[in-house]
Each structure stands twice: as C-alpha cells, then as structure tokens.
C-alpha cells in the first residue's frame, strides 16, 4: 500500500480544484455542479464547501447524479441504486461533473447519457481527484485533475473519506 495523497495534501488539492472551477466559471453564473453517486459525492461536497467560501450560497447550484441504471454491465452484477437529486434545470447550462477516480471512463460515459435525460447542457466539464492515465477504454479526459498517476490494471486506487472511512487519504493497493 502506497500513499499518494495524505490528509493535509488532499485538503489543499480540493481547495485548488474549487478555485480552478471558479477561475473558469466566474461567479458560477451559468454553471451548475453535479457530483456522481456514490463516492464522487464526498469530493463534490468538499469542493462545494470550498466554493461557498468564495461565493454566496445562493449562487451555487449543486446536484447529485446516480448512474446505476445507465451502466453497460447491468447483466454482470446487480448494483444498488443511489439517490439522484438535481433540483434545477440543466438546459443551456454549463455542467461540471465531479467524481473521485477516473479510470476506464465507463462511469463518465454512463453519466453523460444520464445527464442528457435531464436536458441539453451547453457544455459538460469533468473534475476528478485522481486521474489514472493510460487505463482509459473511452475517449474521455478530465478538465480539472487533482493528481494524475500512472498505475497498472492490477493495482487499485482507493480514496478514503472522513465521513465514510474515518480518515482522508488516497492510496494505491497492489
């Protein structure tokens, strides 16, 4: 087990991601944030908390999206769906999707399908904490990256969150 990001480093990285999103989307005027269930929510919650330190809360539109029913591997295993909550229209909006680890790109592919069922966004951007380069199975790249790592398929990347796992850290498991 190798540590990639320790707790304090993680906090700085999340702060940077929040600021980068704000840099590209002044005042979040036409922009909404959507975290991906289940584990992307821990990152998006923290990014939103950081953004709210810079902007008044009413300017931040934040939703949660579950993509279970859009997966391409329904027949292989049953997954339990999580709650989707997008309490605003995304029609003509710029959407920033937020997830913890970008690996094969299949989750994001499904998320794009799911998102389009809610309307026609003007643009979709992707923010991830960890980008596992060279493992992609679809042509999908992040716009905001916490940290890029080179890992092989047999390795596992695990992000621990305080609310869920009692500590904050990113590790590679061999």
């Amino acid at each position: 087990m190798k540590s990639i990001l320790t707790g304090p480093q993680l906090a700085i990285t999340i702060k940077r991601l929040a600021h980068q999103i704000l840099e590209n989307n002044i005042d979040l005027e036409n922009t909404v944030l959507i975290g991906l269930q289940p584990r992307g929510i821990y990152l998006s919650d923290q990014v939103v908390t950081e953004i709210k330190k810079e902007l008044s809360a009413d300017k931040v539109k934040y939703g949660k999206l579950d993509i279970t029913f859009y997966r391409d591997d329904v027949r292989n295993e049953i997954r339990i769906a999580n709650h989707t909550d997008i309490p605003f229209s995304i029609e003509g909006k710029k959407v920033v999707l937020i997830d913890d680890v970008l690996y094969t790109g299949r989750t994001i592919r499904a998320a794009l399908d799911a998102l389009l069922d809610f309307g026609r966004p003007e643009k979709v951007e992707l923010c991830v904490l960890i980008d596992r380069r060279f493992s992609r199975q679809f042509p999908i790249q992040p716009d905001y990256t916490g940290k890029s790592i080179d890992s092989i398929i047999s390795q596992k990347v695990r992000v621990f969150w305080k609310e869920k796992d009692g500590k904050e850290e990113v590790v590679i498991l061999d």
């Binding site: 329904v74 049953i78 399908d113 809610f118």
Partner: protein, 312 residues
C-alpha cells in the same frame, strides 16, 4: 447484495433482504419517473412477453409501461384471440413464444401455481402478475411501498386487510410481505370469506368486527368482492355486505383517528367502499397505481440482472 431468487413467483419465497432491495430500488425509479425523460436504457437488450390469460387493466398497463421505461422490447399476449382457444397447452404456448428469443415472461393466469409450473419447465425468468387465488407479488410490493411512504415504516405498522380474504391473492401476498417485514396484520370480513386456521397458518389476527378493526389499524387495505371466483352463496346480497362490511364516510368520521385507505382496484363502488371514501383525501388508491410502475421497474431490473440474455 443480490436477490435470492431468479423468478418472482410469490412473496412467500422471498427473504426480508429481497423485499428491502425491491423497495429501495423502486424508490430510485420513482425519481426517474419525475424526470423530463422518464426512461433509462438498462434493459434495452432484454425482450419481455406479457402473457395475460386473465383480464387485467392496471397490472397489464403498469407492467407494459415499466418495461418501456426500462427500454425493454415487449410483446403482448392476451388469451382471448390466441391459439389457446384452439386447445394449445400453456407449456406449448410459452415454448413457442420463447423460441422467438424472449428473456422474461410476465404472466397472469387464473390457475394457482401456473407460474411455478412454467418456472420448472422453461429457462426464462418468470414474474407472477397474479395466479388464481394464490399470490400477486408486485401488488404486495407496491402496497408496501405506499404504506412506507405514507406512514414512514413497515415494522410495527398496524395494517387491516378487509373483505374477501378467501379468494384474494392480494391478501395472501400482502400478509406474507407484511409479516416478513415485521408489521402487525388483522384480517376482517364475514366469517364465510375468511379461511379457517388463517391465524394459525399465517400468524394474522382475525376479526369479524369492522368498527373495532378500523379503530385498531393505521392503514386499511380494502379488497374487492371477487364475485367471479365465488361459486356458492357466501353472503346474502351485495347490499347486505355493504351495510355490514362496506367502508362509509360516517364510519371513518366516528373513529378517534384518521386512517389511510387503500384498495388494489378495480373498486366496486358502493359495495366494499363508498364513493365519498374512495375519492377522499384519506385514500391513497391513485398513489398505489403510481407506485406500481416504479415497483415493477425495480422487479424487472433486478431480475434481469440474473437473466442470461439470449444469444449470449
């Protein structure tokens, strides 16, 4: 987490975990049904046949809509107008349909046990949409979802099932489900319509006093008098039934609390339920119908996860 079964033949075969998984998934599908595009691509590679050997409005439309919302391909079959009237057996009919590469079968049949028979003989996943006087599992699941939404819980909830218990598959499925989930159940109706030994067999309370039962319960699930299944006289007239076991506005107003009224439909207005009760705010009959689509989506979605897709 996965289901313990490949088919949904009855609530009797399910574990508590199965039931929770169905209900939990149905809640997520309810959200899908609120979206601008009320459709997900989950079952786009699955073909489902709806075999209805017995009349149905709600259940058939509800299943069909659920299948379409999941992007499955569907075929509808009604016994009237088919080769069944030429004497084809159930197994032959179904095998012929299956050879056209169908993955799942939703079946309603007037013979109790018909879906269990099919499940033993054919490779597709079977969903029971009501078999004779045995079970109607998706109705029990949607009733449970409606009760949970309205009262917040199933465990410890007091549910009265009122009317023709003897001939009701809805009652049987509801009792199995509610007992498994820890609810208290009382069945109430004329003695001729309540099976003997139901207390011993299914662990429910039996009452012949409607007023007492309503006073006791949080939710009253009122059943239809199934005249088509009664081949002997079990009560003297519908009017008399209405006077002793029909739910009237006055009866509900005299209670010390407000209870929830449910009915699986179709309602015999003025027999088991008076119109001003059926259309009142206390009744959640139309919410039950709405929940039916979400519950059936959950059932088909979760069973498809265990179905080997044809040509695969």
């Amino acid at each position: 987490m996965s289901l313990s079964t490949q088919h949904l033949l009855g609530i009797r075969d399910l574990t508590k975990e199965d039931i929770s998984l169905f209900l939990q998934t149905a809640e997520q599908f309810k959200e899908v049904l609120q979206r601008p595009v009320k459709k997900v691509p989950s079952l786009r590679d699955v073909t489902i046949v709806n075999l209805f050997f017995e009349n149905s409005t709600r259940t058939r439309i509800s299943f069909e809509l659920a299948e379409k919302r999941l992007s499955a391909d569907t075929i509808n079959f009604a016994a009237s107008g088919s080769s069944v009237s030429k004497g084809e057996t159930l197994l032959d009919t179904v095998n012929n349909i299956l050879s056209m590469k169908v993955d799942m079968v939703v079946m309603r049949h007037s013979a109790s046990g018909a879906p269990h028979f099919l499940a033993k003989h054919i490779p597709a996943a079977i969903v029971n949409a009501g078999d004779g006087i045995n079970e109607h599992p998706t109705q029990a699941l949607l009733d449970a979802l409606s009760i949970k939404e309205k009262t917040g819980k199933l465990e410890g909830a007091r549910i009265a099932i009122i009317g023709d218990i003897m001939h009701s598959r809805v009652a049987q499925s509801n009792i199995y489900l509610l007992k498994k989930m820890g609810a208290e159940v009382t069945v109430c109706g004329p003695p001729t319509l309540i099976p003997k030994y139901i207390h011993e067999a299914l662990g429910v309370n039996v009452s012949y006093n409607l007023k007492e039962t309503l006073e006791w319960c949080d939710v009253a699930n009122v059943l239809r008098i199934q005249l088509e299944r009664q081949n002997q006289v079990l009560f003297s007239s519908l009017r008399e039934y209405n006077l002793s076991y029909g739910i009237s506005r006055k009866l509900l107003d005299d209670l010390h609390k407000e209870i929830v009224i449910m009915h699986p439909g179709p309602i015999n207005r003025g027999v088991e339920l008076d119109s001003d009760v059926a259309d009142s705010k206390q009744s959640i009959i139309l919410q039950q119908v709405e929940n039916g689509v979400a519950v059936r989506m959950a059932v088909l979605y979760l069973l498809a996860g265990k179905t080997p897709v044809s040509n695969n």
